[in-house]
Amino acid sequence: MTETFVPPLLPKSFGGGVDPVSRAAAERRKEEWNAAVESVKAQSFWIETGKRFLRNRTGVVAAAIVVALALSAIFAPLISPYDPLIGQPVDRLKDIGTPGHILGTDEQGRDMLSRILFGGRLSLLAGFVPTVAAAVIGTLIGVIAGMVRGVVGTVLMRFMDMLYAFPAILLAIAVGSALGPGLTNTIIAVTIVYIPPVARVAQSSTRRVVVQEFIEAARLSGASRARIAWSQILPNVLNDIIVYASGLVGVAMIIAASLSFLGLGSAPPAPEWGYMLNSLRGELFTTPLVTIVPGFFIFLTSVAFNLASDALREAMDSRL
């Protein structure tokens, strides 16, 4: 399995032979062996995890797709062939594969490839930012609730359960419509949806850690609660949270796209995959392939994130 085998150093007395030649050979073998053992250096958890991750082919491909999407979104202004906001009405509704417009054009004659690239910026932002924000806030709440028993912990977690009781999309719509349309509000809405589940993961993980003796040892050294939380508990709950949160990115994009589809997300004419899907749905029978392009990218990103997250979970799970 993944455990590193650290063989024992051979003792000085090892390598007695019947004649000088075999003794020398044994001596040499012993030295080689011991040198090899000494070179087994301690590896950090993250290096080991990285190595295991690289052995998972699905995970590597998924991670490569995620990276490619992220890079194409970041460099969208450099690589997109057209302005995503200005269309040529003459060229409207060109099908996929049209020369000059590989992914076709939309109902206003705007180049789909450019819009997908620029739209990726908003969509990925709407997937990432809420996940990261919710991971930070949820971890804070969860670790506090897990460390502090009694009234504070109970109140915090029951409040989280209350939010958790709503279906995610419904809560997002409620928050989104209360705040009004716009990308920022979408991000806030999705963040609020995600805090409770992250807090739950963090809390249960914290409770598993706090009962261990090394926490008592840390208390014995006179460390404050905050210091124990930061240096002893956090490193031990972090991988649970990273694994969980990385699986949320794809869903966050879908929620953000759904909000845009409903008119609660980013405002037109800004390209956003969910909004694009909405505005193109009228042309479903004219250019069906172009219409599903934004949907395909939502699907691709979401699946890639989930597969990469699964691979990460596997890579991290086999600790000890």
Binding site: T4, P8, F214, G222, A223
Partner: protein
């Protein structure tokens, strides 16, 4: 799991510690032994909820004991008798419900944060070597943590970590290893190194060798006695293993359901146990002689069930299992009586005479 046989370790206790000073006579040997720590009537109760009712569990009840400087006090008893709770009360991980604790002639505040000097001078080695070390921290980081908390400079921390790692007989290169790369015995050595990092005077060892196999137990016990000699450490050694306690202790306290039933020098206790419970405990040690089968003990015949600490028996807590129980045992808790020099026993068998005289 990776196991490096303990005997391949450099600096095993057999070889002696490379850094150990020459075995000149320790100054402590000439000084009169004074108690480094005293517990006076210390109790610890927990509130447990059961079926909506709040019940009081008295885990430690009116324990008084003395720990002599530079010596080892063994604490023995069955599981559930409050040994670990007592360890945590002594070290301050649990605050005592009542009673006084005196450390180095100064009273320790019953609750709240302990003064820095007390924290530094009293450390603890934990039972489970796998859970006592942070899995995400290297050996060096784990040992350095208490030093950093106490505000030591980085350079001093590094020097101290290197020193204690070699003191416990591990190669210095292990400071970069993670706990899961070490064997149980090595982890326990790291555990000991962390406790020693602050250069404490007293170390509480809570079942420190119970999780190890016998051969490694012996090595760790030898290490502990060497460290005690070199640094004039005072140990409170808690264990359910009587052989281990006999080996390492100067004095022994026998605990039953949170109360001290007997407190005597180790040799005296083994040769001349007085409390019926101590006799029961000692007779339950399996014999090393294959021809000598462990005899059926009359003491434990009827009820081997340990009474609950939530609702302990009245009077003497041991009376429900005691073959010598008398009427008075149910009515009155026996006070500790000094039967010979330094040998205290809490049993009505020995108070009878004084009662009649009164």
């Amino acid at each position: 799991m990776t196991e490096i046989p303990e005997n391949t370790m450099i600096n095993t206790t057999e070889a002696g510690l490379a850094v150990a000073p020459p075995p000149v006579e320790q100054p402590s040997a000439t000084l009169p032994e004074r108690p480094l720590m005293e517990l006076l009537n210390v109790s610890k109760t927990f509130t447990v909820r059961s079926g909506g009712k709040r019940l009081t569990l008295s885990a430690v009840d009116g324990v008084s004991l003395r720990v002599r400087e530079g010596k080892t006090l063994g604490i023995v008893g069955e599981s559930g008798c409050g040994k670990s709770t007592l360890a945590r009360v002594i070290t301050g991980l649990h605050s005592a419900t009542s009673g006084e604790m005196i450390f180095d002639r100064a009273q320790i505040p019953a609750s709240g944060k302990r003064p820095k000097e007390v924290i530094q001078q009293m450390q603890m080695v934990f039972q489970d070597p796998s859970s006592a070390l942070n899995p995400r921290a290297t050996v060096g980081e784990s040992i350095a943590f208490p030093l950093r908390v106490q505000g030591m400079s980085r350079k001093d921390v590094d020097a101290r970590v290197t020193k204690v790692i070699s003191d416990v007989g591990l190669p210095a290169s292990y400071s970069g290893s993670y706990p899961h790369q070490l064997s149980g015995g090595q982890r326990q050595r790291v555990n000991i190194a962390r406790a020693l990092a602050l250069q404490p005077r007293m170390v509480v060892l809570d079942e420190a060798v119970s999780a190890l196999d016998k051969s490694i137990q012996a090595q760790v016990l030898n290490l502990l006695t060497d460290l005690q000699r070199d640094y004039n450490l005072t140990y409170v050694f808690i264990s359910h293993d009587l052989n281990v306690v006999e080996y390492i202790s100067d004095e022994v306290v026998v605990l039953y359901l949170g109360q001290v039933v007997e407190h005597a020098p180790a040799k005296e206790l083994w040769e001349n146990p007085q409390h019926p419970y101590t006799k029961l405990l000692l007779s339950s040690i399996p014999s090393m002689d294959p021809d000598d089968s462990t005899r059926d003990q009359p003491l434990d015949k009827d009820s081997s069930e340990i009474p609950s600490a939530i609702n302990p028996p009245s009077g003497c807590r041991f009376r429900t299992r005691c073959p010598m129980a008398m009427d008075i045992c149910a009515q009155q808790a026996p006070p500790p009586i000094e039967t010979s020099d330094g040998h205290l026993v809490a049993c009505h068998l020995y108070t009878e005479g004084s009662q009649a005289a009164a």
